[in-house]
Symmetry: C2
Subunit: 322 residues, 2 copies
């Protein structure tokens, strides 16, 4: 059984070798740029690991792994534009480096390229792969729309939020890992279980992302700590805090929205979070989904020793000591 | 053999019955709205006609026909946004009626829906269908990028322009009609010929579109006559005229760019077109492609009588007496 670094190196090389045409330059240069900004390559790695878990080879799964990474990058290019984000992995986003129209169109072509990769798979698995991929791709769009809708809604609950992140991010991890099961032609029960593993791992990971934005180590995290607080983003922490708050605390949260002094806004929000035990609440929510994920993995019918690399990946993604 | 109206009615009913989810409302309402704005449904009609031409049934081809129409609508939603167009078929465009972000995301989900339709086809034809569809979808994006690039280039030739419209619009007609050949499992030579028919019909049709913008009957055409002249759009007419113009006429064209008096700008441009015989030049270009299209159709190896409906459609699309 291989380790995380082995899969990561293999993927990085294959992503680097993706062969985009040279012209039209304004269509393909942004793709070359964006696909090579790096990242953990978590989704394609799940596809490869799952394929090997169920007894096939990473080479058989490569088109599916690349497709899921390409799809992820398509959605990032369009989301960055819609969220008006200037940076991605500390580099200018496509609409910033080029322009809005180029971000739309190069995103579109990248989505089509994902399907071109999928079509390199063996015809015997293609219909099932496309079923899962299409369903997931639609759900990711639905999640992004819910996220945009939440921005202007006042009554979003923490469970609405979990459903939104499930669609916006977790189902793609679940799809990535289920595709490995399809390629290796495992049982439908194993497919269902490994999908569950991916989905709940994804939810736990996303809640952790919200947590680290407030409590993470700026150096390790690579983002501005408190960014979500400053932009009044409706994160799990904020929504859960609002649910637990008494009337006075609710008014305090509302008054903080117009507080323009960054340091003070972060400090007061964190104080409210402390008063409401939000660290514990958030860890509880993460743990619930992490446990469901691990239980599903336990139940997968393959040799226990082969599961180690997935357990390692889960532990690597969820930095439990934070 | 059925006639155009028969296919049109069948399609309109099936498009009306497309089953988009109710929520998220801001994601799916725009799709319901846009897909039902009407239009000639030229592309899906070509798929159905071609399928029957080669001996299969329209029901077998329906998913491919719907997919090509859905794809076309996806590209219109994004193009309208990029072109900043307020109206489509005399109704507000999606980014006008909703907003830019909704136009991006509902376009994205529509592109995925096209693939979902394709996946309803028989698995035996799916890989070949996807190959043609993916290649075409990429080309359409390349054509749109070239179109955007041309806006700021000063040395676009009329043949660059033909290549751009070939990619931006004609290959989708060609794909639509070739898919019928794939579904009906015709020979590869017939597939090649029917693709050629669709492609050159598309080019002729697009040149006609430029022509009608200047010389069409406003009532029949449903657009403002002279709109392309007023927006300095690089059409076939303008690019060909510029190629044929002497130095004085070139300077005249350039000076007209800053002419803000609409009626005068149209009148002077048309005078230049007349001096340069642009009506004849344009008809010549249309004829070249129309003839190539008809010749390819002639060579298709099926009973001549079955080709009538495609000849009728070609004649209907290309109003030769204008």
């Amino acid at each position: 059984m291989q380790n995380i670094a082995y899969f990561a190196q293999y993927l990085e090389k294959e992503i680097e070798n993706l062969d985009f045409p040279l012209t039209p330059k304004n269509l393909y240069d942004p793709l070359r740029y964006f696909m090579n900004l790096g990242g953990k390559r978590m989704r394609p790695m799940l596809t490869l690991m799952s394929t090997e878990l169920f007894g096939s080879t990473k080479e058989n799964a490569l088109p599916a792994a690349l497709a899921v990474e390409i799809f992820h990058n398509f959605s990032l290019i369009h989301d960055d534009l819609m969220d008006n984000a200037p940076l991605r992995r500390n580099q200018p986003t496509v609409h910033t480096k080029w322009n809005d129209h180029i971000a739309i169109l190069s995103g579109d072509v990248l989505l089509i390229k994902a399907y071109q990769e999928l079509c390199k798979l063996d015809a015997s698995v293609l219909p099932e792969i496309l079923n899962v991929f299409n369903k997931t791709a639609v759900e990711v769009c639905e999640g992004q729309q819910m996220d945009m809708d939440f921005e202007i809604l006042n009554d979003v609950s923490s469970s609405d939020y979990i459903e939104m992140i499930r669609l916006k991010t977790s189902v793609l991890l679940a799809c990535a890992i289920e595709m490995g099961g399809i390629i290796a032609k495992t049982t439908s029960e194993n497919r269902r279980l490994i999908y569950e593993f991916g989905q709940h791992l994804g939810i736990a990971f996303q809640i952790q992302d919200d947590f680290l934005d407030v409590y993470g180590d700026a150096g390790k995290f690579g983002k501005q700590v408190g960014g979500d607080i400053l932009s009044d983003k409706k994160t799990f922490l904020l929504l859960r805090a609002f649910e637990l708050a008494n009337e006075t605390q609710k008014q305090h949260f509302i008054s903080l929205r117009t507080n323009e002094v960054a340091e003070d806004k972060i400090k007061q929000t964190k104080q409210l979070y402390d008063d409401l035990n939000i660290v514990l609440e958030t860890k509880k929510a993460m743990d619930i989904h992490y446990e469901i994920a691990l239980k599903a993995l336990d139940e997968v019918q393959v040799d226990e020793s082969k599961k180690k690399v997935l357990r390692d990946l889960a532990a690597y993604l969820l930095v439990r000591e934070v």
